[in-house]
C-alpha cells in the first residue's frame, strides 16, 4: 500500500478523504466534525474505554467507538444519528452519576471537558438517586493536586506515564466501581514531565497545585509566549489575572514541543513573585544600597560606563536573556569601545576559543532526533537538562535506536542506555579518546586504550545510518571542554554522524548570533575577565553566586570592580557587591525573542506587568545608550531592536564545525578525591531556583555531599554525618549522603545550589573529612 493512497469515506453524508489505517476520529477531527470524547488523545495509545465517541457505522450491529474504528474505503458513518446520539447520551449519563456536582469549587470549572460535553449530551436532571461514590485522594507531590472523586477513569494520565514520561507512576488499582487512579507506591510523582497530566485530565481530578484556588478560568487572559528555561523554547500560553502570571500551560507546536512542556517551564513562574524581587533602582551610597529614582539611577549608570577605561569594562549576560537584550548590551559595550562580553558563564575551559564553531547548535532538528540509530551523550543528563529533547530521543530508542553515554554520574534515564561509561570526571577524556581510537580517529594526543565497551560504542555509531554525538551541559562545564569537544568532533567525523551541542539557558544559540561573545582576537572571554579583572562589570540577569562557573573567582572579580547589575532579583551577592542595581522585567513580563537549539527565532510579547518599577531590559539598555551619547540607540519598540539584530546577523547559518582545533593537555588529573559539579535541573536560573513547588519535588536539590558507599567508608564517614568539603580556600559543611550513582573517589556537589557559592569551580581536586 503506497503512503499516498487515499480512500473515501462518508460521514454524516459528507464525503471525506482518509488514509488507510486511520481511525475514524482522526478523520472527523481533521474535517471539523465534532465527536465527543474523553479517553482519546492524539498523542496517546487508543484505550476506547470511555465509550463517549460511539458512532453509527453502516452494517455494524452496534455503535462503534470512533477512536478505535479504522476507516475502510466506502465506509459510511453517522456521528449524530438517533443511534449514535442515544449511545453518546447513555455514556454521558453513566459518567455523571458518580461525578460530584462540585463544579463551583472545582479548579477545572469553566475549562472542563466533562462540563463542556455535558452541556451538549447530558440531561438537565439526573435519574440517579443513590449515594454517590467518594474516593480518597493521596498527596502525590507539590505539583499536582488530586481530587479523585472527580475521576472518570479515562486513563489518559496512566497512559501518559507509560508511553510519554516513561515511568509508570500512576496506575489503576481495584475493579469495577472500586477502580481508582493513584500512585502504585506511596510517594510523589517524580517525572520531569509530570505536569502534563494536569492538561490531559479531562476533569478536575488532577489539577495544578500551585495554581489551586488562585483564579477561575474565565478570569484569565491568555498570552502566547515562549518558555525560558531550556534550549527547546517550548511554546506556551501564559495565563494572567490582574497583570500577574497565574499559570503556564503548553501551546501546541509539533516542530518544537509537540503538545508537552516540562515541569520547569510550567512552574518556574512561581519565582516571579518572591520577596527578593527588585522593585526599584538602588544605588550604593555610603556603603549601602539605597533606593533611588530611575532618572538618577540611569544617569549614574551612564556616568559609570563612560568613566572607565573600555579595556577594563566587561559584561556578563545570562544565556536566557532575549536576543534583543543581548544585541543592545553588546552594542552598548562595543559602542563604548569594549569587546569584553560573554554569555558562557558556566564554561571554564576557553582554550579552544580560536577553533569555536560559528554558531553552535543541536546539530539536528528536534524531530530528527527521533530517527537516530545511535546517539552518544557526552557529559549529559539530557533527561533532566532538556526534558523534551530527551523525549524525542526516547522515541528513537522505542523505535530500536541506541543511546549511549559517557558521564561522571550514573544518571537514570527513562529508557535503557545500551552502553554507559561512568567514571570520575578526569576519566571522561580518556574514555572519549578510546572511542576515537576504536574508530581510528585522531585522539588529540590523549593516551587511548580502547576496550570492548569503547569498541561497542564506536561500532554502534559507525553502523548508524543516522547518529549523533551530543555534548551536554556537564561537558561544557568540564575543565577540559576544549579537549572533549575536539574528541567528540573527531568521533563524529570518523563515524559520519552529526555533532551537537546542548547549550545553556533559553538563548545560547542567540548569544552566539547576537555577538554576546568576544570576537576572535578582540576582547576578553569570561575566563579572561576573571583572570585580568575589570574596573566595571555589567551583569544582565546574572545571579553571580549561582549562575557562574567559579564563585570563588567571581567574588574576586566583583570585589575589585564597580558592578552595574540589571536584574529581576536582588540576590545576597548583588546586595554585597553591586554599586547600582536596575530592576528589569522577567521573560513573561517583557517582549523579546529566543533562538532555540534548532535555530528557530521565536518572538513573544510581554504577558504580565513587571514587578514594582521594573522596566524591560531592552528599554533600560537603550536609554543607557542614549545617556552615554552613543549613536543609533533610538529604537521605539523591541521589534525595532529585533529587526536591527536580525539585520546584523544576516542569514542564520547554524554551524558546528571546528576550525583548526589544537590539542591541549588535560588540566583535570586523577586525584584522591574529585568534585563532580553540574547544575541540577531546578537550579538553572533565577526563576527556577525560586519556585517553591519545583524545589519540593524529588528533583529539587537536597543539600548534602554525595558520595558512594565505598568512598564513604574509606573516608570513615556515614550517611547523615556532618562532613566538610574543602576546595582551594573555600569550605562547605553539609550532611553526607550515600548515593551509589557517584563513582568512587568522587564527591557530587553541584554549582547553582545553596552552599556552592562558598566553593570554586564545579570540577577539580577537593578534600572531604568529618566536620
Amino acid at each position: 500500500m503506497s503512503e499516498q493512497q487515499t480512500i473515501t469515506i462518508e460521514v454524516d453524508g459528507k464525503k471525506l478523504e482518509a488514509a488507510p489505517g486511520q481511525m475514524l476520529i482522526e478523520v472527523t477531527d481533521a474535517a471539523g466534525i465534532t465527536v465527543p470524547r474523553f479517553c482519546y488523545h492524539k498523542k496517546l495509545s487508543v484505550a476506547a474505554n470511555c465509550r463517549m465517541c460511539l458512532v453509527e457505522v453502516e452494517n455494524a450491529p452496534k455503535p462503534l467507538p470512533a477512536c478505535a474504528t479504522p476507516v475502510a474505503d466506502g465506509m459510511k458513518a453517522w456521528t449524530c444519528s438517533p443511534l449514535a446520539r442515544q449511545a453518546q447520551k447513555g455514556t454521558m449519563e453513566f459518567l455523571l452519576i458518580n461525578h460530584p456536582l462540585d463544579c463551583p469549587i472545582c479548579d477545572q470549572g469553566g475549562e472542563c471537558e466533562l462540563q463542556d460535553v455535558a452541556m451538549g449530551f447530558g440531561e438537565g436532571v439526573s435519574r440517579f438517586s443513590e449515594g454517590k461514590r467518594v474516593v480518597a485522594s493521596h498527596d502525590i507531590g507539590p505539583l499536582i493536586a488530586t481530587d479523585m472523586t472527580r475521576c472518570i477513569h479515562c486513563t489518559r494520565c496512566v497512559r501518559f506515564g507509560d508511553e510519554i514520561a516513561g515511568i509508570r507512576e500512576l496506575g489503576a488499582t481495584g475493579r469495577g466501581e472500586h477502580m481508582k487512579i493513584g500512585v502504585y507506591v506511596e510517594r510523589s510523582v517524580s517525572s520531569e514531565l509530570s505536569g502534563n497530566v494536569i492538561d490531559l485530565c479531562p476533569v478536575g481530578a488532577l489539577t495544578s497545585k500551585p495554581f489551586r484556588y488562585r483564579a477561575r478560568a474565565w478570569e484569565l487572559t491568555q498570552y502566547d509566549s515562549v518558555a525560558a528555561h531550556d534550549g527547546v523554547g517550548s511554546n506556551i500560553h501564559v495565563h494572567v489575572r490582574n497583570h500577574q502570571v497565574m499559570r503556564v500551560v503548553p501551546k501546541d507546536n509539533e516542530a518544537v514541543n509537540e503538545t508537552w512542556i516540562s515541569d520547569r517551564d510550567r512552574f518556574s513562574y512561581q519565582g516571579l513573585y518572591t520577596d527578593d524581587r527588585l522593585q526599584k533602582p538602588m544605588l550604593r551610597q555610603d556603603g549601602q544600597l539605597r533606593e533611588v529614582e530611575w532618572q538618577q539611577a540611569l544617569l549614574e549608570g551612564a556616568a559609570l560606563l563612560k568613566s572607565v577605561d573600555p579595556a577594563r569594562l566587561g559584561a556578563l549576560v545570562s544565556p536566557s536573556a532575549t536576543l534583543e537584550e543581548m544585541h543592545l548590551l553588546q552594542k552598548l559595550l562595543r559602542g563604548l569601545g569594549s569587546n569584553n562580553i560573554d554569555h558562557r558563564l558556566r564554561q571554564t575551559d576557553f582554550r579552544g576559543d580560536a577553533a569555536n564553531p560559528a554558531t553552535p547548535w543541536l546539530g539536528q532538528r528536534f524531530a530528527d532526533l527521533e530517527n537516530n540509530q545511535a546517539v552518544l551523550l557526552v557529559g549529559s543528563w539530557l533527561r533532566k537538562d532538556q526534558p523534551l529533547l530527551n523525549h524525542r530521543l526516547r522515541k528513537s530508542v522505542l523505535a530500536g535506536g541506541q543511546v549511549m553515554a559517557i558521564n561522571p554520574l550514573d544518571y537514570d534515564f527513562n529508557y535503557s542506555l545500551s552502553n554507559k561509561l561512568i567514571g570520575a570526571p578526569a576519566d571522561m577524556v580518556g574514555h572519549l579518546a578510546a572511542v576515537a581510537a576504536a574508530l581510528g580517529a585522531d585522539t588529540a594526543g590523549v593516551n587511548a586504550n580502547a576496550e570492548a565497551a569503547h569498541q561497542a560504542i564506536a561500532d554502534a555509531l559507525k553502523a548508524a545510518g543516522k547518529g549523533l554525538v551530543l555534548l551536554g551541559s556537564v561537558a561544557q562545564m568540564h575543565p577540559d571542554y576544549s579537549l572533549l569537544r575536539l574528541l567528540a568532533n573527531n568521533i563524529a567525523q570518523a563515524a559520519h554522524v552529526d555533532l551537537g551541542f546542548v547549550g545553556e539557558g533559553a538563548n545560547s544559540t542567540g548569544g552566539w548570533l547576537a555577538g554576546a561573545v568576544p570576537k576572535a582576537g578582540e576582547g576578553l572571554s569570561f575566563a579572561g575577565m576573571l583572570e585580568q579583572g575589570l574596573d566595571a562589570c555589567v551583569l544582565l540577569n546574572v545571579e553571580p553566586e549561582f549562575d557562574t562557573a567559579n564563585p570563588a573567582a567571581m567574588a574576586g572579580l566583583l570585589n575589585a570592580s564597580k558592578v552595574l547589575a540589571l536584574t529581576t532579583h536582588l540576590s545576597p551577592w548583588l546586595l554585597e557587591y553591586a554599586d547600582l542595581v536596575l530592576p528589569v522585567a522577567a521573560t513573561p513580563e517583557t517582549s523579546g525573542s529566543f533562538v532555540n537549539l534548532q535555530g528557530d527565532v521565536q518572538s513573544f510579547n510581554g504577558a504580565a506587568r513587571p514587578a514594582g518599577e521594573a522596566r524591560p531590559a531592552w528599554k533600560v539598555l537603550r536609554v543607557l545608550g542614549n545617556l552615554a551619547d552613543l549613536e543609533a540607540f533610538d529604537h521605539e519598540s523591541s521589534r525595532d531592536v529585533l529587526e536591527e539584530a536580525l539585520q546584523s546577523i544576516g542569514e542564520i547559518k547554524l554551524d558546528n564545525s571546528l576550525s583548526n582545533a589544537q590539542a591541549v593537555t588535560a588540566r583535570l588529573v586523577s586525584a584522591d578525591l574529585q568534585r563532580i559539579g553540574g547544575v541540577p535541573l531546578y537550579s538553572v536560573d533565577m526563576l527556577a531556583r525560586r519556585s517553591g513547588a519545583l524545589q519540593h519535588t524529588p528533583d529539587g536539590w537536597k543539600a548534602g555531599l554525595y558520595v558512594c558507599a565505598d568512598t564513604a567508608s574509606q573516608l570513615g564517614l556515614v550517611e547523615g554525618s556532618s562532613a566538610v568539603l574543602r576546595q582551594g580556600d573555600g569550605e562547605l559543611t553539609l550532611p553526607l549522603v550515600v548515593d551509589d550513582r557517584v563513582p568512587g573517589n568522587c564527591v557530587w556537589m553541584p554549582t547553582g545550589v545553596p552552599g556552592s557559592e562558598l566553593l570554586g569551580e564545579g570540577f577539580g581536586t577537593v578534600s572531604l573529612e568529618k566536620a
Binding site: 476506547a48 474505554n49 455514556t91 453513566f94 459518567l95 443513590e130 461514590r133 489503576a172 475493579r175 466501581e177
Partner: protein, 424 residues
C-alpha cells in the same frame, strides 16, 4: 447415551491417570496424527465437520476459529485453554480437569499441531487447587511418556503446555483479559480488533478455546467428525456437559447429547427437591436470560432451541428455581455479582452495574419506586452493546429478563414493600 466424550473415563478407577486414559483409547488420536502425518487442513476440516461449537458460552464454531490463524506465520503462536470457569452455575470444566485431564492435554497438543503453535497455556481458575494439581500431574505424566515437550513421539513436532493459576477475577474468563492476566498485567479485556488470532498472547497469533471444547478434540479425531456431529442435533453437534444446580435432588455434571429435552435432564438430576414446583430456569449460567417453567419444560438442550426461546445455552450451567424463591432477591444477588466483578475499564459497565444493583437492592429492601422498573430497563439498554467486552451484556441481560418474565413480583415488592412469595 451419556459420558461418551469428555467424561469417558469417569466409570473407571482413578480415571485421571495416563494408564486409565490410554486404556480407553487415549492418545490414539495424537499417535495417529503424528504417525500418518495427517495434514493440518484435514484436522481442521474434521473439527469443522463435527459441528463442535465453543463450550465456554459463546458457541463459536471451533474449527472455523482454528482456521483464522495464519499457520505459516513465522515466530511463536499459542494455544490457550480457558479453564477460568467463573460463570456462576458452571462447574463442568473442573470435573474434566479432575477426572479426565489427559483428554485436555491431548486436545491441546492436537490443537497446537493443527494450528502450527509452539506452546500452550492453560489458565485455571484461582479457586481450583485440586484440579490444578491434577492437571500438572497429567502434564508430568505426558512429558515422561514422550507425549509432550520436545520432539513428541519422535515425530519432530515439539509442543509444551504451561498451567497458569488465576487469582479469582471473573473478568479473566473473558479471553483477552485472560491473555493480559497471563502476561502479568491487570485482568482487563482488550479492545477488539485486533482479535487474538492476529494479536494474542504476548502479541502473537493465539487461539483460545474452552476446556470442554479442547477435551472433545481427541475423540472427534479418533472417531470422526461425523460420529461426533451425529450424537447431537442440527447446528449443535456432539454431546455437552451440563452443570445443573438449584432446587433439585441430585445436582451435578451430566454429559448428554445435544438436543436432549430439558425434562429428561431434570429427571436425571433427580427432579425437583422436596416436591416444590418448578418456577423458572436459568439455562446457561447466571448471565443468560431466565426462562419461566412453562417455556423451559418444552425445550430441548441445544443452541437453537434455547436461543429461539430468548435465552442462551451458554456454558450449559442450568440453574433450577422452585416456586419458593423470590425473583427480586435472586436478581439482587446476581446483579451484586456483576457489580463486584466488572473490571471498571469502560464506563457503561463500571457505572451501570452499580446503578442497577443499587436500584434492585432498594426494591428488594422495600424501598422501590414506581419508576424503578422502567429505569432499570432503560439502563440495561444503555449498557448492552456499548462495552468493550461481553460482561456488560452479561450484567444487563438477567435484569431485563427477570423484569420481563416476573414483572408482577417486582411490582408487588414496590407496592407492598414486601415479598410476594416469601411473606417477608
Amino acid at each position: 447415551m451419556a459420558n461418551e466424550v469428555c467424561l469417558r473415563t469417569l466409570h473407571l478407577d482413578r480415571s485421571w491417570l495416563l494408564s486409565t486414559y490410554e486404556s480407553e483409547g487415549g492418545y490414539e488420536a495424537l499417535r495417529k496424527i503424528l504417525k500418518e502425518k495427517i495434514s493440518q487442513e484435514d484436522i481442521i476440516e474434521t473439527v469443522k465437520t463435527s459441528g463442535l461449537r465453543g463450550r465456554g458460552g459463546a458457541g463459536f464454531p471451533t474449527g472455523l476459529k482454528w482456521s483464522f490463524i495464519n499457520r505459516s506465520a513465522a515466530g511463536d503462536k499459542y494455544i490457550v485453554c480457558n479453564s477460568d470457569e467463573g460463570e456462576p452455575g458452571t462447574f463442568k470444566d473442573r470435573d474434566i480437569l479432575r477426572y479426565n485431564p489427559h483428554a485436555l492435554v491431548e486436545g491441546m497438543i492436537i490443537a497446537g499441531y493443527a494450528t502450527g503453535s509452539t506452546a500452550g497455556y492453560n489458565y485455571i481458575r484461582g479457586e481450583f487447587w485440586e484440579p490444578y494439581e491434577r492437571f500438572e500431574a497429567a502434564l508430568q505424566e505426558a512429558r515422561e511418556a514422550g507425549l509432550l515437550g520436545e520432539n513428541i513421539l519422535g515425530s519432530g513436532f515439539s509442543f509444551d503446555i504451561h498451567a497458569h493459576l488465576g487469582a479469582g477475577a471473573y473478568v479473566c474468563g473473558e479471553e483477552t483479559a485472560l491473555l493480559e492476566s497471563i502476561e502479568g498485567k491487570k485482568g482487563q479485556p482488550r479492545f477488539k480488533p485486533p482479535f487474538p488470532a492476529m494479536f494474542g498472547l504476548y502479541g502473537r497469533p493465539t487461539i483460545i478455546n474452552n476446556t470442554e471444547s479442547l477435551a472433545s478434540i481427541p475423540d472427534i479425531i479418533r472417531q470422526g467428525g461425523e460420529w461426533f456431529r451425529d450424537i447431537g442435533v442440527e447446528n449443535s453437534g456432539g454431546s455437552k456437559l451440563f452443570s445443573i444446580s438449584g432446587n433439585i435432588n441430585n445436582p451435578g455434571v451430566f454429559e448428554i447429547p445435544m438436543g436432549t429435552p430439558f425434562s429428561e435432564l431434570l429427571e436425571m438430576a433427580g427432579g425437583m427437591k422436596d416436591g416444590y414446583n418448578l418456577k423458572a430456569v436459568i439455562p446457561g449460567g447466571s448471565s443468560s436470560p431466565v426462562l419461566p417453567a412453562e417455556v423451559m419444560m418444552d425445550l430441548t438442550m441445544d443452541y437453537d432451541a434455547i436461543a429461539k426461546a430468548g435465552s442462551m445455552l451458554g456454558s450449559g450451567a442450568v440453574i433450577v428455581i422452585d416456586d419458593r424463591q423470590c425473583m427480586v432477591k435472586l436478581l439482587d444477588r446476581i446483579s451484586y455479582f456483576y457489580y463486584e466483578e466488572s473490571c471498571g475499564q469502560c464506563t457503561p459497565c463500571r457505572e451501570g452495574t452499580g446503578w442497577m444493583h443499587r436500584v434492585i437492592h432498594r426494591i428488594e429492601q422495600g424501598q422501590g419506586r414506581q419508576e424503578d422498573m422502567d429505569l432499570l430497563n432503560d439502563v440495561t439498554k444503555r449498557i448492552m452493546g456499548r462495552t468493550i467486552c461481553a460482561l456488560g451484556d452479561a450484567a444487563a441481560m438477567p435484569v431485563a429478563a427477570f423484569i420481563k418474565h416476573f414483572r408482577e413480583e417486582f411490582q408487588y415488592h414496590i407496592d407492598h414493600k414486601q415479598c410476594m412469595v416469601g411473606g417477608r
